[in-house]
């Protein structure tokens, strides 16, 4: 169920992401030279500025092999999904609703 949800969000983000937004999120460096860590470093501030985005990290697609950039959302936000790029560098961007991340004392 969760995987379906992630795929749905990924599809939504891919569908709605405009090319202008992609240009805004990527850098001028050749994509092939960028590691996921560098891409996250360069784009996380702008991504975290979007409503309900709480995190960005390097993860794997459901195939368990393809590396991607995952964007963590505290809740489903269609407006934010529309602003996510379909990819950053050579990495597909996948949104996932994780809820808020909080310290885990009790």
């Amino acid at each position: 169920m969760k995987i379906k949800w992630v795929i749905l969000l990924a599809a939504l983000s891919a569908t709605f992401a405009g090319t202008g937004c992609q240009r805004a999120m990527t850098t001028n460096q050749p994509a092939a030279e960028q590691t996921a860590a560098a891409i996250i470093n360069q784009n996380s501030e702008r991504l975290l500025a979007l409503p309900d985005v709480v995190g960005v990290y390097e993860g794997l697609m459901p195939d368990g092999k393809t590396h991607c950039i995952k964007v963590m959302l505290s809740k489903n936000n269609p407006a934010t999904l529309k602003q996510l790029p379909a990819s950053l560098g050579n990495y597909p961007v996948v949104a996932e609703v994780t809820g808020k991340v909080r310290p885990l004392t009790r």
Binding site: K2, A36, A37, I40, N41, S44, L48, V54, G55, V56, Y57, E58, G59, L60, G64, H67, K70, M72, S74, K75, E96, V97, T98, G99, K100, V101, R102, P103, L104, T105, R106
Partner: protein, 380 residues
């Protein structure tokens, strides 16, 4: 709070016509007879609850609603708010006093869980340890094993007490320290609800106050706090307490001794941890290089102190919080090997789908710089 604002508008729109009706039926009068579904006041409260619950549930931090009685014995719509949510107090205060002329009442509560033995294991894809009867919350005979309940001896404020996990041992210049999180040991930075703030030399106790009815005299002192102030200005959520002689062993409950070496995280790496709430659980690394925003409180059940953006963090699959849950903060995450596992990260935060850990080498580098030496894990 957008949802609450919308709720206010909705309530105002319907208040005029409903007020006439409710005055006639006397919702605010003491309800007569049995307070069951046949009671008119209860029926009105249920109608208001059913009407407004969908909008309330959109607000992060709202766990649920119910129909109950207010302090005057009148039927009321109760809104349960996650007391661990950073905006819990503000959310409670932002509720409208009534919904369709039925009084509201906010109750801060822990997250609701099924009262059955917790399911072990984290995100799948790895072999979960078998269920165990080892208690991670009971007071132990010295020297205690780690992966147990613990915390600051004065971590009590605003009617609540807090605590976390005493995770592991580190050493600097031959001196041994218990490693846990900043927000477990030293995040009380305002006099606020308890009149004190965390200071170097304060007692660190086992079990934590949460497991001794908030009464520190029912726990034992195992170490003394050494404030290192990792947050808000550094990229790690860690704190240490110098071990009281003879009180702490380097073994971790259900893990045993660990290696003195560390290992970096990698995607799909199998990991495990031993913590206060969920005990020994296993999962796998689902993400690297994470930039994550986490909000911190200024004391137990207090207000928001700051929101920290961490970078370079480790993400671990945490489906339904089965790998890491409230009270597990401070647990050491190690590779999932049977003997002398190497440390991978210091767990400190999470959601119901992902857990977050500081890379252990970042933690050791920070501690070494603060304590004037080279920090390492205590192990084989």
């Amino acid at each position: 709070m957008k949802v609450i604002e919308n709720l206010y508008k909705s309530v105002l729109r319907t208040a005029a016509c409903l007020s006439t009706v409710t005055l006639a039926i006397g919702v605010f009068a003491q309800p007569a007879g049995l307070l069951d579904r046949n009671n008119h006041g209860i029926q009105t409260a249920i109608a208001a609850q059913e009407k407004h619950t969908p909008m309330l549930m959109q607000e992060p931090g709202v766990l649920g609603t119910a129909v109950s009685l207010d302090d005057n014995g009148n039927p009321a719509v109760v809104v349960y708010i996650d007391r661990a949510d950073p905006n819990a107090q503000a959310l409670a205060h932002s509720l409208p006093p009534g919904l369709d002329n039925v009084p509201t009442r906010a109750i801060l509560t822990d997250k609701f869980i099924a009262f059955r033995k917790p399911t072990r294991g984290g995100g799948g894809g790895t072999t979960n340890p078998p269920p165990s009867t080892v208690s991670h919350t009971a007071i132990q005979a010295a020297p205690i094993q780690l992966g147990t309940s613990g915390g600051w001896s004065k971590d009590l404020a605003n009617g609540y007490c807090c605590g976390g996990t005493l995770g592991s041992l580190v050493q600097v210049n031959g001196v041994q320290y218990i490693l846990s999180n900043y927000h477990v040991f030293e995040s009380d930075i305002v006099a606020g609800g308890n009149g004190v703030t965390a200071q170097t030399g304060d007692n660190i106790v086992q079990p934590g106050l949460i497991d001794v009815n908030c009464n520190a005299s029912s726990s034992q002192t195992v170490a003394s706090l050494v404030r290192v102030g990792s947050l808000p200005n550094n990229n790690v959520d860690c704190s240490v307490a110098q071990v009281a002689p003879g009180m702490v062993s380097s073994s971790i409950l259900e893990v045993g001794p660990i290696s003195s070496s560390t290992v970096g995280a990698s995607l799909n790496q199998n990991v495990k941890k031993s913590g206060r709430t969920t005990g020994l659980t296993a999962s796998y690394v689902s993400g690297l290089n994470a930039t994550i925003q986490v909000s911190y409180q200024n004391e137990c059940a207090g207000g928001t102190a700051f929101t920290k953006t961490f970078s370079g963090q480790i993400v671990v699959a945490n489906s339904n919080s089965t790998f890491l849950n409230s009270g597990d903060s401070g647990s050491l995450m190690v590779e999932n090997t049977s003997t002398n596992p190497r440390a991978v990260g210091l767990l400190f935060a999470g959601s119901s789908t992902q857990a977050i850990a500081n890379p252990i080498n970042d933690v050791l580098s920070f501690l070494g710089s603060k304590l004037g030496g080279s920090a390492s894990m205590v192990g084989n």
